[in-house]
């Protein structure tokens, strides 16, 4: 009885002290005026601050080092989160990096276990990654060619390269939650590992559910990265006026003719020129610029955008539910700008090469 009383009293005392510390130590929640001056508080706080600085930043740790980590549950949740039904074994394999397998073998060798006698039941994700990479890149090109049928092949490849860089795939991979699941020796995980894992996830889905489902996965997670990026910016055209001239002449129209449409503040630092491009007295495109040359070049780019039908007023990408019934032509190949330039400039007299600009 007495013991329980004592423990109760102790608890009450402890609670009261904690409360006292939490509420009144910072002095913010104190109702009335403070009547004391704590000489040690500032010294104490400074000391703690210095210790924090000396200790340096927190060391990055794997998620699995925390106590509430359950790999099986996380693997299951990964598929459920994305709405895909993976087979557990393939998904597990997709997250196993080559370095992890080698590390495991090394550990066993150190422990003196013969690998031939007790084989290591681990396959890495290299094969899945290769399959996924091929599928992803072919589908991206097919999709872009069908959505932008008039775009030059170089532009399509540029958009494809933009989407399949390691940084882009690592970004996607990190944000769908692959980072914690990856089994790899290196830490923190490099973007190459992350991107390989993402490709392996696509490959795993391909082997589990077939091509269509894997392509849908690519459409849902990779292609949306093109939203809010200008697809025309991805392809750097070196000489837009030369390309425009070749395209127009080969399609049976007159050569492009730049005209000054409007100018303002010609003698000031904020001068503005609008240049329009005409062919056979028909208006094609116009663009502003701070000098006539810049405006003319930008107008040529605008004209090429119009020819490719990827101007700023283009329709948005067909994604999500709208893309369910999308009929893609897998054999399609767009016109290549290089071919056009070779055809126009390469065959005949070389003087045409020099007269590309104004």
């Amino acid at each position: 009885m007495a013991a329980s009383m004592a423990s109760k009293l102790f608890r009450a005392g402890a609670r009261s002290t904690i409360r006292k510390v939490s509420l009144f130590s910072n002095g913010l929640l104190q109702k009335g005026p403070r009547r004391n001056y704590d000489r040690h508080r500032m010294r104490y706080l400074k000391e703690m601050y210095q210790k924090r600085l000396d200790a340096g930043p927190e060391k990055p740790r794997r998620r699995s080092e925390w106590i509430n980590w359950n790999y099986d549950a996380e693997i299951y949740a990964f598929g459920q989160r994305l709405g895909e039904e993976f087979e557990e074994s393939t998904l597990r394999q997709a997250f196993i990096n080559r370095s992890y397998v080698e590390g495991e073998k090394k550990k066993r060798a150190e422990l003196g276990i013969d690998i031939d006698a007790v084989p290591l039941q681990l396959d890495d994700n290299t094969e899945f990654a290769n399959e996924g990479s091929v599928l992803m890149s072919s589908y991206l090109k097919v999709y872009l060619r069908n959505i932008y049928p008039y775009m030059f092949e170089e532009g399509i490849s540029a958009a494809h390269d933009y989407l399949t860089t390691d940084e882009m795939l690592a970004h996607i991979s990190k944000h769908i939650g692959c980072e914690d699941l990856i089994l790899s020796e290196e830490f923190p995980t490099s973007s190459a590992t992350l991107s390989t894992t993402f490709k392996a996830v696509v490959g795993a889905l391909f082997s589990d559910k077939g091509r269509e489902r894997a392509e849908q996965f690519v459409r849902d997670f990779v292609l949306p990265q093109l939203i809010e990026t200008d697809i025309n910016e991805l392809w750097q055209i070196v000489n837009p006026m030369g390309l425009l001239k070749a395209v127009l002449v080969l399609s049976g129209k007159g050569e492009p003719e730049p005209r000054l449409l409007w100018k303002s503040g010609a003698n000031t630092i904020m001068s503005l020129y609008w240049v329009g491009i005409y062919s056979d007295k028909d208006f094609i495109a116009k663009s502003p610029g701070e000098t006539i040359l810049i405006a003319e070049e930008m107008a040529a780019r605008e004209a090429i955008k119009k020819i490719m039908k990827t101007e700023d007023s283009r329709a948005p990408l067909v994604l999500g539910a709208a893309a369910e019934n999308l009929k893609l032509d897998y054999e399609r190949v767009n016109v290549s700008a290089e071919d056009i330039i070779r055809k126009y400039y390469g065959s005949e007299d070389p003087q045409k090469n020099t007269s590309t600009s104004l």
């Binding site: 025309n232 303002s264 503040g265 003698n267 503005l272 405006a295 605008e302």
Partner: protein, 198 residues
């Protein structure tokens, strides 16, 4: 490279406008001119943004004021010393500086703005048609006048006057000289200076 960059440049570059102040009310003109100075005519206008345009005004010597305003409209000034108050009628101010009335009208119109000095620097006033070449080259648009420029009867040709339809038919037997004023060729005792001095 980017097309967005030049589009942004096109939005934020300052346009130069021209305004002909011939036979225009300075206060109504100021209403319209300051709209352009502040950039209120632009969809991107914001009071904290600096999107105003330049305005070149010429023919300020030939502005028109309403009714008796040339005599009755005053410009006031106080030097902040005792007895430092002074005022001047509009026509006197106009004699001194033909651009002053329009400038003050715009200045007063922009009262209460923090950037009034900046905006007023973008207003270029010229008393007559002579505008410097380097300024005229910048101009790319014209601001509509606020009032109709009236045409004098002398400026109509005889053909215009003849082709204009007659509003009424005069009676057949009307004598055109019936109301004619006497032209007094003799000196008048009331108006003659010689008579008054006598």
């Amino acid at each position: 490279m980017a097309h967005n960059r030049v589009m942004q440049w096109a939005v934020l570059a300052r346009t130069w406008w021209i305004f002909d102040a011939n036979q225009q009310c300075p206060f109504r003109s100021a209403y319209r001119i300051t709209t352009y100075l502040q950039g209120l005519h632009k969809p991107v206008y914001h009071r904290h943004g600096d999107v105003g345009d330049h305005v070149v005004v010429f023919n300020t010597k030939h502005i028109a004021m309403r009714g008796d305003f040339w005599r009755t409209y005053k410009h006031f000034h106080h030097t902040r010393y005792a007895g430092g108050f002074s005022r001047a009628s509009a026509y006197r101010v106009h004699e001194e500086d033909p651009t002053r009335i329009l400038e003050r009208a715009c200045h007063n119109r922009l009262s209460g703005l923090d950037n009034r000095r900046t905006l007023m620097k973008r207003l270029h006033l010229f008393p007559d048609k002579d505008i410097p070449e380097n300024i005229l080259e910048n101009v790319s648009g014209q601001i509509q006048q606020v009032q109709v420029v009236p045409k004098k009867l002398e400026d109509y040709t005889q053909e215009d006057i003849d082709s204009f339809p007659q509003l009424f038919k005069m009676p057949e037997d009307y004598d055109i000289d019936s109301y004619k004023r006497e032209n007094r060729l003799e000196p008048d005792q009331h108006t003659s200076k010689a008579w008054r001095l006598k």
